[in-house]
């Protein structure tokens, strides 16, 4: 009932304070929406703004709308946005560099002019005095809305209903992809693969360590270089491949050295050390590494090359 009081009465200092604080937040959010490089961030900023607006609705005695705002917008719509973002690629940051000549200046000009005009318009609009929603909301805001929606605005309401249905159907139609030709049979697919000289057997698994289960870590080839095939295309295309070859090898080497020092004996103890085939492979790799470890620049170069490849993949 505090809300109603607020709504009914002329603005209290409380509302003033609330307005100034949240208003600032809202504007910042809006600016964020426009200016953030990554669209995810924009989406989040927008969500913030919307929540603030919901609060303002409440403050203005539009309780129903306030709630709807939160549920529909901040809930449904923003989620929809985020889904699409995920589909399109969350992390892809688009540059804010303008490509169309003069577009930015025109936009700025129009925006500024338009803003000024609106403000001016509101300024000289005679909205000095205002009547609160006290009696309008007397029978309850929701009931009030419901009454007029189902009496005066009933047609509009029905039509919007139709609109929603249409929109839903439209969305399905748009996103549904019609299969034009017959789906290939398994045999045909297999033959196609052979014909195209594709990689016939299943792809190798990503490098998995006991430490954590990470699909974004490429498996290492016998020579210790990471194998691109082991990581899914999506991750590769997003440039999210985490290359651990060098770190892992370094750890292993350090471990063996320590055990060597600790046991005082070299290679032998290492045999029958931890790990099955995988360990063995790794050990072999380690050996190889050790052989070449004295000329580390080569390794670095090696690593650099991998890094480059990753970055290229990212692009």
């Amino acid at each position: 009932m505090n809300g109603t009081l607020l709504a009914a009465s002329t603005t209290s200092t409380g509302e003033a304070v609330q307005f100034w604080i949240l208003g600032t937040v809202a504007v910042l959010g809006a600016l964020g929406t426009v200016l953030m490089k990554r669209s995810v961030h924009s989406a989040l900023c927008l969500a913030g703004t919307m929540i603030v607006l919901a609060v303002f609705y409440l403050a203005n005695g539009a309780y129903f709308l306030g709630i709807v705002q939160i549920v529909v917008y901040t809930g449904a719509v923003m989620m929809l946005f985020l889904f699409v973002l995920m589909l399109v690629g969350v992390t892809a940051a688009d540059s804010l560099k303008e490509t169309i000549k003069g577009q930015r200046w025109m936009a700025a000009l129009c925006g500024l002019g338009f803003g000024i005009l609106l403000v001016g318009g509101i300024g000289n609009a005679s909205v000095g005095t205002f009547t609160g929603l006290a009696e309008a909301n007397a029978g309850g805001n929701v009931q009030g809305l419901a009454r007029s929606i189902f009496t005066d605005y009933v047609f509009a309401f029905e039509i919007t209903g139709a609109l929603l249905v249409t929109a839903a159907v439209a969305a399905m139609v748009l996103t549904h992809r019609e299969r034009t030709e017959r789906r290939d049979t398994q045999r045909e697919l297999a033959e196609k693969r052979v014909r195209e000289g594709k990689h016939l057997p299943p792809l190798p698994a990503p490098g998995v360590y006991a430490r954590h289960n990470a699909v974004d870590i490429p498996g290492l080839l016998p020579d210790g270089t990471p194998s691109e095939l082991t990581v899914s295309d999506t991750l590769r295309s997003r440039g999210q491949v985490r290359d651990v070859s060098r770190k892992a090898l370094a750890d292993l080497a350090a471990l063996e050295r320590r055990t060597g020092e600790y046991l005082g004996r070299g290679e032998s103890t290492a045999r029958g050390g931890p790990g099955g085939g995988g360990g063995r492979e790794v050990r072999d790799a380690a050996d190889v590494r050790k052989d070449v470890s004295d000329d580390s620049p080569a390794v670095d170069r090696d690593g650099d090359r991998d890094g480059d490849r990753d970055r290229e993949a990212a692009k």
Partner: protein, 99 residues
């Protein structure tokens, strides 16, 4: 404080949203800016309904929300389709109208 400030705020937000539409290439962000504009409008409507002491403003705002929802659904569907076909969500890439 005079609730007219709500209107000023709405104007501000609207303008920001508009410039967002004009400045961003990413279709999704453009859409968000549009949403921002709609919300600004809604805020103004709500403020009006308070000013005039009747609920019509709110009802309009309500309808706006519904329409906005529908628009978002379709719009996003379109974006997805475009992205599928040309692997980009940039509005500038969809410039076949250019000579």
């Amino acid at each position: 404080m005079n609730p007219v400030n709500y209107l000023y705020l709405a104007a501000l937000l609207f303008t920001i949203g508009a410039s967002g539409v004009l400045l961003r290439r990413n279709a999704i962000v453009v859409f968000m800016s549009v949403e921002l504009m709609l919300n600004a409008a809604n805020l103004a409507l709500v403020a009006f309904s308070r000013l005039h002491g009747n609920l019509d403003g709110q009802i309009i705002a309500f309808f706006t929300m519904v329409v906005a929802a529908a628009e978002v659904v379709v719009g996003l569907a379109i974006i997805v389709t475009i992205f599928r076909s040309r692997h980009s969500a940039s509005v500038d890439d969809a410039s076949l109208m250019k000579l």
